[in-house]
Amino acid sequence: MRALPELIVAIAVIAIGAFFYGYSESIETFGDDLVGPKFFPQIISVLMVIIGLVLAIKAIAMARRQDGPFFRIHLTDAIRKTVIPLGVVSFAYAALFNALGYVLSTVLVMAPVLWIYGHRGWVKLTVITVISTAIYYILFIRFMGIFDPPGLLIDLSDLFRW
């Protein structure tokens, strides 16, 4: 039952190509050179649209051959319980990095990640979270000298300066 996901991907490719072709019209150019700043983006966008159309046709042909309902996407339990939550946690971590700084964001995120990977027990999760955050902080921020981003909402970086 891959036809619908393949068709969605094909449509996404066409949409991306069309969007970037349209966006490339806003690129400023000097003179009337045929091969200017717009040339590469437009060639690539057009090629993406063409290949996207071919993939869409192939997906429709696949749909005609496949058994079972077309308008159904089967998300496995594994994807629902691990990939989607981990994806959400990834974006949350990226957002929290700036908002709360490295230490707090890592502490908040590590426990859900461990949970997704099948670890259980609040003691185990807490211990691993605290120790791993401490090790990463010492290794990367202290030892390697990577700049500790101050949190825009809550800034705990002063607590760890010694």
Partner: protein
């Protein structure tokens, strides 16, 4: 000779020597962890090397790339799971040997074959690159564009399951690379008004997202279906089953030699890489074998052939990078960024401007081969046991943390972390739908050079496209591209016909 001078420079730099040793050991361990490729490890380590001097930074990553290719054979042989795509063919005969209690024999043969192949490839690099550079320094923008175009098309169409999706992956990589300022007129393109995007997207968070975070997502999915358990192998009581005997070594020597040659040739072609080399060598040696019926059931030559070939790719894949500035593999693409960070422009001039550095790198390669060979020959079973003690559900949460901090550390940029997260998800979707991640990354790296050379060619000739058809080198590139793609299309068509025939 330059290579002797290279050894002298290397041995006079204790930090560089330390990182050669570290790279050899770390690469074997990382390569042995299923799912964690040498490219992914190097992607995470690149920001760390920014704090190092040039030579230690380069030798560290270069040696990890070599030892990681060998390391993948450990999990392929012991756990029937290739640690890297380069070891996928090793699994076919390696795992049956483990099932027969001969894992020690298989691992030692893998180590010997890897050292053989890698040394052959490295010697080709050392002697061939300088020779080739004397020709490539005479090339102009039209020739450079032809090489880039050849790389785009071959990378996109030859590897991977689908030609269309491979080409699409290449186009997507080019599109992402276009974000930023135009290289000639400095006009902002696709920046969405965000000033941080004017410098373009950084390679490091892209790499980490596409290779590392996507793997973290894949491993999480595998964990949920309980695919992530590794069992320690059984051992036979026969001492000969734990070593490579002299007759076995002599029997495999011609196999290793032929596979080294094929791997080296494939390594020189941009984008083909170890994954292609190992299967080409395996297929060819099986075809030549007297006792084909033993292949797939634990033939020791079935380990020697792919391991020699996949490691023979390593050195020659640097030839297009050093002589043309066109990376021949994902690892070469990453090394290119390290060269640039340290202010070194890759291309034929590197042999004049940074000759000592280059030959020190070659010397480090030879030293690293010897070191990982020793680690592999005597230490593979230990590495295998370490891997069984570290199941994925313990390793990958920490890889998740490492991915985030290392992508941040590249430019101390929180935006890079966001980019990494986005491309992690994109990388996961690309993998699920059989898109080609190496094509995406390599085309991202190649785009700037390709566009510059195209537009310079047309500026020099005032818009005349005929310039591309007046140069013999350009025509040779187009012919080679057509030949390679034609063979691929013919292969796909034949495979499809055979499948239809069998289904009827």
């Amino acid at each position: 000779m330059d290579i002797i001078n290279g050894f002298i420079v290397l041995f006079s730099d204790p930090l560089a020597l330390l990182f050669v040793v570290l790279g050899a050991v770390l690469g074997v361990i990382v390569g042995a962890i299923p799912g964690l490729t040498a490219a992914a490890a190097i992607a995470m380590l690149v920001p760390i090397t920014y704090h190092l001097p040039t030579l230690p930074a380069l030798v560290f990553l270069y040696v990890i790339g070599k030892s990681g290719r060998f390391g993948g054979s450990i999990s392929a042989i012991l756990f029937n799971t290739p640690g890297t795509t380069a070891s996928a063919a090793t699994m076919i005969d390696g795992y049956p040997l483990t099932q027969q209690g001969k894992s020690g024999k298989a691992l030692k043969m893998a180590a010997l074959s890897s050292v053989f192949g890698d040394t052959g490839g490295e010697l080709l690099l050392i002697f061939g690159a300088v020779y080739i550079a004397t020709y490539t320094e005479k090339l102009g923008p039209p020739e450079y564009f032809a090489v880039h175009l050849m790389a785009f098309i071959i990378i996109g169409s030859v590897i991977g399951k689908s030609i269309l999706k491979g080409i699409l992956s290449t186009l997507f990589g080019i599109l992402v690379a276009i974000i930023g300022l135009d290289p000639i007129d400095a006009m902002p393109r696709f920046t969405f008004g965000i000033v941080d995007f004017e410098g373009g997207l950084s390679l490091v968070p892209l790499l980490i997202g596409v290779f590392v975070l996507s793997e973290v997502l894949m491993q999480a999915e595998d964990q949920a279906t309980l695919k992530g358990t590794w069992q320690a192998p059984n051992h036979s009581s026969d001492r000969d089953d734990d070593r490579v005997t002299w007759p076995e070594f002599m029997m495999c020597l011609p196999v290793m030699a032929r596979s080294t040659i094929s791997g080296s040739i494939i390594g020189m072609m941009p984008g083909l890489g170890s994954a292609v080399a190992c299967f080409v060598a395996y297929g060819e040696e099986k075809r030549r074998a007297n006792r084909k019926e033993l292949w797939g059931k634990g033939a020791i030559e079935g380990v020697a052939a792919p391991e020699s070939a996949n490691n023979a790719v390593s050195g020659p894949s640097m030839i297009p990078l050093l002589t043309l500035g066109v990376p021949g593999s994902t690892i070469a693409a990453i090394l290119m960024s390290v060269f640039l960070i340290h202010g070194i422009t890759v291309g034929p001039a590197i042999f004049y401007q940074d000759r000592d550095l280059i030959f020190s790198l070659f010397a480090a390669g030879l030293l690293g081969i010897g070191l990982y060979g020793l680690v592999g020959y005597y230490g593979s079973p230990i590495v295998g046991r370490l891997v069984t003690l570290m199941p994925p559900r313990y390793i990958y949460p920490f890889i998740f943390l490492t991915a985030f901090i290392t992508s941040y550390s590249a430019r101390n940029s929180a935006l890079d972390v966001v980019v990494m997260a986005i491309f992690g998800l994109i990388g996961y979707v690309m993998r699920k739908f059989d898109f080609n991640l190496p094509a995406f990354i390599i085309s991202f790296v190649l785009t700037k050079g390709a566009e510059e050379s195209l537009r310079q060619s047309l500026l020099l000739t005032e818009g005349g496209y005929l310039v591309f058809f007046e140069r013999p080198f350009v025509l040779a590139c187009f012919a080679l591209t057509t030949l390679v793609v034609g063979l691929r299309v013919w292969g796909v068509a034949r495979h499809s016909r055979n499948e239809k025939y069998l289904s009827h």
